[in-house]
């Protein structure tokens, strides 16, 4: 199974990023081959809809599950439609979360927040 984690750098000791859409990188980890693949998150710099674009990228890379602290409503809808599961991370460490997922210890994420789609920046 291929799983995705939003991370703050391209290495195994990276921390999990708090914002899925704006995370600088994604880790794609394959539980069968135990392969690590880091990818730039091209959505991070987008004007709006970063969560949706990130979701599209994650989906296109064949992820079947996601581990993240939070997820926006729109991205969550995309994942749900695509049948991708979202789990809540237990710590900031990649390896701890991967181990927990393999042992079936992760719980589904319920922190789905409504998006901030205000365009134009009212102060």
């Amino acid at each position: 199974m291929k799983i995705t984690l939003p991370v703050d750098k391209k290495s195994k000791d990276a921390n999990i990023s708090s914002n899925l859409g704006r995370a600088p990188y994604f880790l794609f980890y394959d539980t069968e081959t135990e392969e690590y693949n880091f990818m730039d998150n091209s959505a991070a710099s987008s004007q709006g809809g970063a969560g949706i674009k990130a979701a599209q990228n994650i989906l296109d890379n064949g992820a079947e599950a996601i581990i993240a602290p939070r997820c926006g409503q729109n991205a969550a809808n995309v994942f749900m439609t695509a049948g991708i599961k979202i789990y809540k991370n237990i710590s900031n460490s990649i390896s701890e979360n991967i181990a927990a997922l393999k042992e079936g210890k992760l719980t589904p994420l319920d922190d789905i927040h409504p998006g901030f789609h205000q365009h134009g920046g009212r102060q």
């Binding site: 709006g48 989906l59 998006g115 365009h119 134009g120 009212r122 102060q123």
Partner: protein
Amino acid sequence: MKIAVLSGKGGTGKTLLSVNLAAVSPESLYIDCDVEEPNGHLFFKPQDIKTEKVNVKIPQVDQELCNGCRVCVDFCRFNALVYVIDKLIVFNEICHSCGGCRLLCRKKAISEIDKEIGVVQSGKSENVRVLTGILKPGEPSGVPIIKKLLQDEGQENEDVFIDCPPGSACVVMESIKDADYCILVAEPTIFGVHNLDMVYELVRIFHIPYGVVLNKCLEEEENPAEDYCLKNNIPILGKIPFDIELGRLNSNGEIVARKQAKYRELFQNLLNKVKKEVQHETASNT
């Protein structure tokens, strides 16, 4: 004569000024472009209200025709489109109605449908025609409503006052772009200077003549906003004093210039000053 009234943030007295200027003008059109929180109508309490819907176009996908090429997904810079498994999904509340996806789709799988994003209300309050734009909560952009509002350019004999949204974002630019003159409202604080600076920059970019009205002024108190104007050679049109009675009437939704002669005079003087400035500017531009 089209006058836009703006300020860097809400609550500086932008609506107080535009409402009362419109009230002292013999015939006027007041346009509330603060479509997220329009409150000028609370003062005017206009009669004979007519409501018109404002629609935008959003894409609708024929999944049968769509071949999943994703040209539209890659194009949409607002990321309102996603292709999930074998379906194109449109996030209506993120779409900015640019129409690009429909033009680009070679399969002609995208058509357009109307989506209501708000309304424009018109009514009359004594000498003032009142136009109010109301954007539905959660809609991404008020620009289409402002465009609709400003299609009414006012009659020959009417002075037009445009109550702009706060800040300096695209909705403000849309509101001022055809104005003859901009009045910037500023409060006498350091924050007031910061907010003034934002809109000052904007009117200079647009090359629209401008002047400042200083609100909430106290005699013999320091006024950083005034200092800022003097230092930058920004014309000061006048001052609205910090006045408990004025504040009370205003927060009760009263139009102070219609309530008391002294306030009528205050805003009449301001209006005369503005008109003189506008004439001066038009004269020096020809």
